[in-house]
């Protein structure tokens, strides 16, 4: 690779590959970056940490040419430059994986990769296909070059994005939460790749909310809070400390103290109980062990999207007072499962019962009213309406209904009161409740969704990757909320994060190719058992492919 050569010569000198100097950027109502200075060095991975809304994406957007800073300047290899557009950034060798996908769903993988690459008239698909196979070999992934990207699982899409950022021979690589959708296995693979890129002399910015990734990968760490750099850990310190020391150093920087102390007092969010003390509803159905069944799937079959599997005869029982986890590699029917339960997808076969009554023919809204809620993983697409204010997004699924609408008239007071309460309760960082929801940071959009779905008379909540993109504290809060549902309610937790499942779930079912291949009681040894079930699936998958 020729970029390796270029980069090596850059690595020889001690001038940073990129310097961001005193960058400030304000949006209406927020100072997203406040006099931020960060230096990136060739041959180093620089981790950028900070809570949701701290200004990490904004800072990287400025470096990538997507945003213009209000003040401050940028140096690339010691030269002062003005990055006016993403094109300029690309020309300076800055490649970016944005937090929110920039893949065009209607284009194939190869087309996405060559988009904007060349000014030549003709597309060179065959050469690109070859290069893609080189990249996939390097990353250790298998990607069909002619698949539409919208047909790929989100994890797979993220791999394509990484390849896209490397595609033009970047010397600086920005990765804005690239691992939020990857399985632990894929994360490990990515770490190998990043180490290789570091050796090749790239300067890498790595944004993550996962401490262990930061500890495992970084050469240098900067922590942002409310738009300011509140601390850095430099190369020497990183090298000298043990992983545990490093982790506590980061936590100390981020929260002033240990995580437990920081999170314990202010973050306990009780889920609103409208009828206190009521456990399972009166007309309950009871399973063989005598526990009340909240939700039951019986040989459910659902069609998948494109090449992804749907559900292929899934039977599950969710009892009141438990959290049932669904483990599995992303793209094995998770979305089909979630949407079949929420009512967004029709069953082709089988039945779903909620509180003992069949609901397969009920609409989303009818199920919602019965107390069945769904927190989607597609937060920008179907989760919120970007152009509507936060307050309206918080009642989105109740448009036209009391108390927010009466006789066809919108009740602004009720909507605003509800919004103010929830923003406060769920600590949604927004300039005001009238701010357009699309402008919130990724993590805060997720909090908005949770706030909306968990209020009111929720009885059973389906979570699909509920903590992806959330900062440490919020992740903790959300997991506590999920565990809190055990108190008389029930939750189905679909997650690709095994740690999350082991922390929250009572039982964990493993989903593979649209089938439940096993259910494991959580406890000692559960992780290995789940791992085995999942690996069995992987080898099967390879044999079939």
């Amino acid at each position: 690779m020729n970029e390796a050569g270029q980069a090596r010569s850059a690595a020889a000198s001690t001038t940073p590959a990129v310097e961001l100097v005193s960058i400030s950027k304000a949006f209406p109502g927020v100072q997203a970056n406040d006099n931020v200075s960060v230096s990136l060095y060739s041959g180093e991975i620089h981790c950028l940490l900070g809570e949701n809304g701290a200004g990490k994406s904004t800072l990287m957007g400025i470096l990538a040419g997507m945003q213009q800073p209000d003040s401050g300047h940028i140096r690339v290899a010691g030269q002062e430059v003005v990055i006016t557009s993403p094109r300029t950034a690309l020309d300076y060798g800055i490649g970016t994986v944005y937090q929110h996908s920039t893949l065009v769903g209607a284009l194939t993988v190869v087309e996405n990769l060559i988009l904007g690459e060349s000014r030549a008239l003709r597309l060179n698909v065959s050469r690109a296909t070859e290069r893609l196979s080189e990249f996939s070999a390097m990353l250790g992934v298998e990607i069909d070059p002619n698949a539409l990207t919208s047909d790929l699982a989100l994890g797979r899409q993220q791999q394509v994005e990484i390849i896209k950022a490397l595609w033009r021979g970047s010397r600086v690589l920005i990765l804005d939460e690239p691992t939020s959708m990857l399985t632990p296995q894929a994360v490990t693979e990515l770490q190998v790749v990043l180490n290789r890129l570091r050796e090749a002399g790239l300067a890498v910015v790595f944004i993550t909310h996962k401490l262990h990734e930061a500890v495992a990968l970084s050469d240098r760490i900067s922590v942002l809070r409310q738009g300011r750099v509140i601390g850095t850990i430099d190369r020497e310190q990183v090298r000298e400390s043990s992983p545990d020391e490093l982790e506590s150093a980061i936590v100390h920087l981020m929260f002033g103290d240990t995580l437990e102390d920081a999170s314990a007092p202010e973050l306990h969010i009780a889920i609103e109980e409208r009828e206190p003390g009521s456990a399972a509803p009166a007309d309950t159905v009871v399973d063989s062990d005598g526990a009340a069944v909240a939700l039951e799937l019986n040989d459910a079959r659902v069609r998948g999207d494109g090449s992804q599997p749907g559900l292929d005869g899934v039977s599950l029982q969710l009892r009141f007072g438990e959290v049932l986890g669904i483990a599995g590699v992303d793209g094995n029917g998770q979305r089909a499962l979630a949407e079949a339960i929420s009512g967004q997808r029709r069953l082709t076969h089988g039945q779903i019962s909620f509180l003992g009554a069949p609901v397969a023919s009920l609409s989303v809204w009818q199920r919602e009213k019965l107390g069945l809620r769904y927190v989607t993983d597609d937060r920008l697409g179907e989760g919120i309406v970007r152009s509507l204010p936060v307050s309206v997004n918080l009642v989105l699924k109740r448009i036209g209904h009391a108390p927010y609408w009466r006789r066809g008239q919108v009740k602004r007071d009720a909507i605003d009161r509800n919004a103010r309460e929830l923003v406060e309760q769920f600590d949604i960082r927004t300039p005001s409740i009238d701010t357009r929801a699309g402008t919130l940071s990724g993590g805060n959009i997720q909090k908005l969704l949770l706030a909306r779905e968990l209020t009111g008379e929720a009885k059973v909540v389906v979570f699909h990757k509920p903590t992806y993109g959330l900062d440490l504290k919020t992740t903790r809060t959300v997991r506590n909320m999920i565990k809190g549902l055990r108190d008389g309610k029930a939750a189905l937790l679909i997650s690709t994060d095994l740690d999350e499942l082991l922390e929250c779930a009572d039982r964990i079912a493993v989903l593979s190719r649209g089938k439940v291949v096993g259910i494991v009681e959580n406890g000692p040894g559960a992780a290995e058992q789940i791992g085995r079930l999942m690996i069995g699936d992987v080898s099967l998958g390879l044999a079939a492919a």
Partner: protein, 318 residues
């Protein structure tokens, strides 16, 4: 009884068949040009409801060019420029300033209708000067096909340009960077921007190309079809082109086919008269619009509009 049989047989007689095919082709050409143009800008995410006005602008400027400079070719160039003037408003107001595309499009149509009528009146009063008959060019060999060959393959050169254009667009959409950029601009403009290609430039060029093609479509009406410019001579063809572009799902080949069918429905009056069947002209004039409604009812579901259509792009806005 015998009479009915005779006229039924007449429908397939040589003059009827040729007049249907040739008439369909000639009446379909302006639709084809214009709908091909709309296909380009819709692909890039610009909904152009000003087609009718741009066609009229092109018909008028094209006529002036051909009339004063005595050349149909010059006329078509002028027609393209006229359409582009209309499109310029679209570019500045919608693509650059982010105004509502529907409102601006309708305004362009109204302005085009009014301005061309007024200018024509001011210039020629109530006289309508005519151009000479268009020169024809025949395609060797194909024009020897029996029955329809001689008339179908002996057309004004601009007709061939249209088919070459459709072929070029088909190729460009599939295998060029321009085609890819256009599609990305309509599907997910932020992705195109992130890939280093200006969304604003891509959409601006697309809108201008649309204006040029609508202008040529209009110029065809005044220079070839009628040989004269009369106010409001497009008679809703700009709107038909929008429907055709939507039904064709951005595929140039479908645009050609659909335009041809609509052309036949426009020219069917002549064919019926040749066949000796007399139907009220009011009914016949309704036919194209009936066809549109039927087509929309049958195929409306398959219309495809890219997600970024009519949504202005501002970098970094979320």
């Amino acid at each position: 009884m015998i009479l009915v049989f005779a006229s039924a047989a007449n429908i397939f007689s040589k003059p009827v068949l040729t007049s249907l095919l040739v008439g369909g082709l000639l009446a379909g050409l302006p639709l084809m040009f214009t709908a091909l143009g709309e296909t380009i800008s819709e692909r890039a995410g610009v909904l152009n409801l000003g087609l009718e006005g741009m066609m009229l602008a092109g018909a008028y400027t094209g006529f002036l060019g051909a009339y004063y400079l005595h050349s149909a070719t010059v006329g078509f160039v002028f027609g393209a420029l006229g359409g582009m003037i209309g499109a310029l408003f679209m570019v500045v107001l919608c693509v650059w300033l982010g105004l509502d595309q529907i409102v601006v499009g309708i305004a362009i149509t109204l302005a085009g209708e009014g301005l061309t009528s007024v200018l024509q009146g001011a210039q020629f009063g109530t006289t309508y000067p005519r151009l000479g008959a268009p020169t024809l060019a025949s395609i060797p060999l194909l024009d020897r096909i029996p029955v329809v060959g001689p008339s179908l393959f002996n057309q004004p050169p601009i007709a061939y340009v249209c088919f070459v254009l459709a072929g070029l667009m088909f190729w460009a959409f599939r295998s060029t960077n321009i085609g890819l950029n256009l599609k990305a601009a309509g599907e997910k403009p932020e992705a195109l921007d992130a890939a280093g290609v200006s969304v604003i430039a891509t959409r601006s060029w697309a809108a201008l190309a649309t204006g040029a093609l609508a202008g040529v479509g209009g110029a065809y009406l005044s220079i070839v079809a009628a040989g004269v410019f009369t106010p409001m001579m497009t008679q809703g063809q700009g709107y038909m082109a929008i429907v055709i572009a939507m039904l064709a799902r951005g595929k140039p080949i479908w645009v050609v086919g659909a335009s041809f069918l609509f052309g036949i429905s426009l020219s069917i009056a002549t064919a019926l008269q040749l066949a000796g069947i007399n139907i009220s002209t009011d009914l016949i004039n309704m036919l194209p619009f009936l066809t549109i409604m039927v087509a929309l009812i049958i195929f409306g579901r398959r219309a495809y509009l890219p997600p970024g259509l009519a949504v202005p792009y501002v970098r970094g806005m979320r």
